[in-house]
Each structure stands twice: as C-alpha cells, then as structure tokens.
C-alpha cells in the first residue's frame, strides 16, 4: 500500500461527511436563530457551523479547502459581524451602552417567546455567530496552511 500523497481522507469519510455537513450547518443555524429562546446562542451556534467547515477541511483535504475558501470574503464577513455587534450595541446609547432600546421602544416587537422578538438579541446573535464561524474556520485553515513539517 503506497502512502497517500494528498491530504484528503478515504471514500467512506468523504461520502458520510457530504451527508453530515449540511445537517451540522442547519443545526448550527437553528442554534443561532433561536439564541434568545432556547439554550445556545451566537457563540455556540457559530462554533457548530465552524465544526461543519472544519469537518470539510479534515475530510476533503487542504487542496479542496483552498479552492473553496476565500480569504478576503471571510475577513470581510468577520469584520461585518464585529461591526454589526458594536453598532447594535450603540443603538441604545442615549440610555446606556448595551441598552436594549429596540425591545423597549420598537412597535413591531412580537410577544416574548416568538422568533421575531427580543429587540436586538437576534441581530446580535446573528452577528456573533457570523464572527465566530468565519473566525474559527479562518484559524483552522491558517493552522493547516502554515504547518511547519514536511509531508
């Protein structure tokens, strides 16, 4: 048996990760969207989606990941996530930093417990989830790209 020259895994791992990666992504998106209702939130859901990306990196190898991974897009998305988090936090600046002014004064708020409620909490969850997802995928891709040992 000759040593594998590529960095991807075998056929079984690839096929099962093709089936599992969308499910992990959907579950992470559910955790992020329902962050203000059920246990979980931006960090946890973002880490779950990043787990899907890291599974892609591990199963399909670095060469395939380099084709799909766009560095400038990911850094822009991370910046947008952080800036949206800070900007939404600034909205209630007339009262206090991190004051949920959308919840107190916005007329379109649903009842507590529905998906479209809780003012800025869903926006913040989405922003933090985007930031954590892009950040963790970028970190793992950087670690895989810049490895020091020869293969």
């Amino acid at each position: 048996m000759r040593p594998r020259c590529g960095s991807d895994m075998g056929l079984i791992v690839k096929t099962s990760s093709r089936a599992v990666i969308p499910l992990i992504g959907i579950f992470g998106a559910y955790i992020v969207m329902h962050g203000h209702l059920t246990p979980g939130g931006g960090f946890q859901g973002g880490a779950t989606i990043a787990g899907a990306g890291i599974l892609f990196l591990v199963a399909f190898g670095l060469d395939e990941m380099k084709k799909r991974y766009n560095k400038s897009l990911y850094s822009a998305l991370e910046g947008i996530g952080g800036l949206a988090f800070l900007g939404v936090a600034m909205l209630g600046m007339s009262v206090a930093f991190f004051y949920n002014t959308l919840w107190h004064t916005w007329p379109f708020n649903g009842k507590p417990g529905t998906l479209l409620s809780a003012g800025f909490l869903p926006i913040m969850n989405l922003a933090v989830g985007l930031k954590v997802f892009t950040g963790l995928v970028s970190a793992l891709t950087a670690i895989a790209t810049y490895r020091r040992w020869k293969s």
Binding site: H36, T38, G41, L86, F98, Y99, P112, L121, N125
Partner: protein, 98 residues
C-alpha cells in the same frame, strides 16, 4: 488478596466521595436557602426581571448580551486576537525558506 484490597479501597474512596457530595452533612459549597437569597440577590434579579427588561426567554442570552455586554465584546476581541496570533506565529518566516 491484593486485588481484593484494591477494590475495597476503591469502594472506600467512592463512599467518601458520596459522603462529601451530600449537601446535608458533607461539604457545603457556598451558602444556600435564605442566606443565598440575601447574598446573591443578583441571580434572583436576573431571573425575575430578565424577560421584562431585555425580552429574551433565554436568560443566559439576556445576561451575555445585555447585562454583561462588555464581557461579550472582550470575548470577541479575544477570538480575533487568537486568530491574529495564530496567523502571525505560523506564517512562513524568512529563516524557514532557506
């Protein structure tokens, strides 16, 4: 014989752990009951006021994104710093190319 002693000592250690873990007469980690309510009134405040003041059903999200928002900013900064540090330390150096 040795094996029997080993199992007996394991059983003894398990019994000691169970005795310690019982809050009735073992170790007590922090106050409880009425004393807890008088010392840690912020916990009760979050539970009773969180839904009205912030609006989320998940009280942990209320605390993380509203009451303790600065902490979340710090966490996001730590994540960014970790990625920047990983890339700065792992990128190819001039010394390695030779």
């Amino acid at each position: 014989m040795k094996r029997t002693i080993a199992y007996l000592s394991l059983l003894f250690i398990l019994g000691v752990f169970l005795y310690i873990a019982n809050p009735g007469y073992g170790l007590i980690f922090g106050p409880g009951g009425k004393e807890w309510l008088s010392l840690r009134y912020t916990d009760n405040y979050y539970i009773t006021h969180g839904l009205k003041e912030v609006g989320g059903m998940n009280i942990v999200t209320d605390i993380v994104f509203d009451y303790r928002g600065y902490d979340t900013i710090g966490e996001a900064t730590v994540l960014f710093t970790a990625i920047a540090g990983a890339i700065a330390l792992l990128r190819p150096w001039r010394r390695d190319e030779a």
